[in-house]
């Protein structure tokens, strides 16, 4: 109980976003404690999960960590629960290994299945169409119905949006809620994936998934060999010319390739939160080298772009450098950001050839 308080590493290390060293130390110590306390090794592969709670900010964790470690060392040693994970709604303690998870976030659904928590998921919302074996229901993440959610008797609910009293309502019903809004950086993806791993007893495979994503992204960017350097692009979110600047999550992925976003001057002060609506004549006059369509789902295609009045003379249109992105891949911040990067690399390859 007192080990956390006296631990110089935990006390001395200020909170940073990358606290992997601290976590490593804790992992080792957990293993040690596990050895000391119990005789039988846990059957769950995730018995080390309990201490990843220390991803919490150092200044506020001491009390929470203390309270959570107590039962960890006394009762549920076999699966490492309870655990405390950080979410947008604060530190959330999950008492036991969740076996009835509901995901109201299509991104979280993809993350959960990727890290191997799929069998623990009992229901996903009506937008969670990937992977296809996810148990899609009528539940809505935009207009959630508390009673409908509770009818599945969940022991963990993952959301991305609380329209009002969803979190409060679920907590009143005794159901832990993890809320993760859209990622702002690629690091957010890793953080959310790992937190879901911790929360569901899959932290090791979550970290493997993160490593795979990181390696894949690096390889894709390396393989493109700087072909994206300085190439201008326009990323269309909808036909009213809403777009994403370099500062957004998806803009950062284009940035990995060194590409230049034509939308950046439209939101220099960040007042549009990186999602300005561009003036049509500005888009055409900027004449970007490649046009990426994130709105194929809404009926846009290279043909509809070419058919727009005045757009036919643009270089990207005449040369055919219009990339039709999978609308889901281009709007979720889960493991499939690798596919997003692949699509960019593919478009760059075509651009350099043509």
């Amino acid at each position: 109980m007192s080990r956390m308080k006296t631990d110089p590493v935990a006390q001395g290390k200020p909170h940073t976003s990358s606290s992997s060293k601290t976590e490593d130390v804790f992992m080792k110590r957990t293993a040690l404690i596990a050895l000391l306390v119990m005789v039988v090794a846990a059957c769950s592969p995730s018995d080390t999960a309990a201490t990843t709670t220390t991803a919490n900010p150092a200044t506020t964790t001491t009390a929470q960590a203390t309270t959570t470690v107590v039962p960890a060392t006394t009762t549920t040693i076999d699966d490492g629960f309870p655990v405390t994970v950080e979410a947008d709604n604060g530190s959330v303690t999950i008492e036991a290994l969740p076996r009835a998870i509901i995901s109201l976030s299509s991104t979280a659904t993809e993350m959960l299945f990727e890290i191997g928590a799929g069998p623990q998921v009992v229901a996903v919302d009506d937008q969670s169409n990937y992977p296809t074996d996810a148990p899609m229901t009528d539940l809505s993440g935009f207009t959630p119905n508390l009673e409908a959610i509770l009818s599945f008797e969940p022991d963990l609910v993952v959301i991305t949006f609380d329209p009002g009293e969803l979190i409060a309502g679920l907590e009143t019903a005794g159901v832990p809620v993890l809320s993760y809004t859209a990622a702002f950086t690629i690091d957010d993806v890793y953080r959310q994936t790992k937190a879901l791993g911790t929360a569901t007893g899959n932290v090791e495979s979550a970290m493997e998934v993160n490593e795979t994503i990181q390696t894949d992204l690096e390889e894709i960017v390396d393989f493109s060999g700087g072909s994206g350097e300085g190439v201008t692009y326009y990323h269309e979110i909808d036909a009213l010319l809403y777009t994403a600047t370099s500062s957004t999550f998806f803009g950062q992925i284009y940035g990995l390739f060194g590409m230049v976003n034509i939308a950046d001057p439209a939101d220099e002060d960040g007042s549009a939160f990186g999602y300005p609506q561009l003036s049509e004549e500005y888009v055409v006059a900027s004449d970007p080298s490649i046009i990426f369509l994130a709105n194929v789902l809404y009926g846009e295609s290279s043909e509809t772009i070419a058919a727009r009045p005045g757009w036919g003379v643009m270089t990207a249109v005449t040369k055919g450098d219009i990339a039709e992105l999978d609308s889901d891949v281009a709007s979720r911040w889960g493991p499939r950001i690798v596919e997003f990067a692949q699509a960019i690399a593919g478009a760059l390859g075509q651009y350099r050839q043509g």
Binding site: L241, A272, E280, R308, P309, V313
Partner: protein
């Protein structure tokens, strides 16, 4: 407003007509000169001269810049003018035919009904060609219910009509929200459309709107005298030989058709239908023989000006034009109202 003032002119004077024409020309030219593409005004002028028959001027614009000017900017300016003219004349006609100064597409529930129709069109088909007919059916249904409700509840009082409009609008909005939630994939499109937009219009949109604009404006212009007669009262108008019921429906259908056609290309652009006619009424006279024709000019100029703001003030980003009309229109209207109250 319903009382005709004999002293006021019964047709637009030279001053007001000239002011209307000049404002349309000035704002229209400004609309062609200004934009986010960064084309110098002098080049625009030369390119415009060059486009005239038998004149050749070296403008030095690239092919892309020419496209921006003639395929994107020019149709947008023209369409903005047409939509503004239609919304303003439509608003004036509603006010005359219902003898209600507050009647406008919003307060009568027409906009909400048209919005519901458009939402259903988005949800059912996603086909943009169905927007106009669906919006028209929704708008007509809404105004019909509003009118009959208003009559059955409160006879002739203007408040009952407006209250009925508010109820109809709330009802239509409720259904619209329900449809949206059942089809959340259309939510973004509909939301963008509700905010109002003149993005990605081309000459085809202009040509598509033209017949509606001509027919509806023609009907409403032809009705301006009878609107004046109607302003005395239904019975008095009937005594003067006006078939009040038929006339009312003809004007309502024309105004609703025009409004629906306009909103189907531009989205719900508010305030034009109430600000423009009222400003004219306050400045130039209460006769519909003045208001209706002048609404055409000043409505066009107002919306073209609002669109210039929408596409330049945060350039190269863009504001929804509905936000601009509300933001600038509402205080402007209050200002005119206050300044005219004293001597009037």
């Amino acid at each position: 407003m319903a009382t005709p003032t004999v002293a006021r002119p019964s047709r637009p004077g030279w001053v007001s007509l000239t002011a209307g024409v000049v404002s349309v020309v000035v704002v229209g030219v400004a609309g062609l000169l200004l934009g986010a593409a960064g084309i110098a005004s002098s080049q625009v002028v030369r390119a415009l001269l060059d486009a005239l028959p038998f004149i050749e001027v070296d403008h030095g614009l690239t092919e892309i810049q020419l496209n921006v000017l003639f395929q994107i900017r020019a149709p947008r300016v023209v369409l903005g003018g047409m939509v503004g003219a239609i919304l303003a004349v439509g608003g004036a006609s509603y006010q005359g035919v219902f003898r209600n100064p507050l009647a406008d597409p919003y307060l009568l529930g027409v906009a909400a009904g048209a919005g519901l129709g458009a939402t259903v069109a988005f949800a059912v088909s996603g086909n943009a060609d169905l927007l106009a007919p669906f919006a028209f059916v929704g708008g007509m249904a809404a105004v019909a219910v509003t009118y009959s409700l208003g009559r059955s509840v409160g006879g002739r009082t203007t408040t009952s009509l407006i209250l009925a409009g508010v109820a109809v609008a709330a009802f239509a909005t409720a259904i619209q929200t329900f449809v949206l939630q059942r089809n959340s994939e259309t939510l973004r499109q509909v939301y963008s459309w509700i905010l109002g937009q003149l993005v990605t219009v081309g000459w085809s949109d202009v040509l598509g709107l033209l017949p509606y604009a001509l027919v509806a404006s023609g009907v409403m212009l032809a009705s301006r005298r009878i609107l004046d007669v109607l302003s005395i009262g239904d019975e008095e108008a009937a005594a003067l030989g006006v078939n009040v019921v038929r006339f009312r429906w003809v004007v309502v259908i024309a105004a609703t058709l025009a409004t629906a056609a306009a909103v189907s290309v531009s989205g719900l652009i508010g305030f034009v239908g109430i600000i423009v006619p009222h400003t004219i009424r306050l400045l130039f006279g209460v006769s519909y023989r003045v208001i209706v024709p002048l609404s055409l000019f000043f409505g066009a100029a107002f919306l073209m000006a609002a669109d210039i703001v929408a596409r330049t003030v945060v350039a190269p980003a863009e504001l929804p034009i509905g936000v601009v009309t509300a933001f600038f229109g509402a205080p402007f209207f209050v200002m005119v109202l206050r300044s005219m109250r004293g001597p009037g």
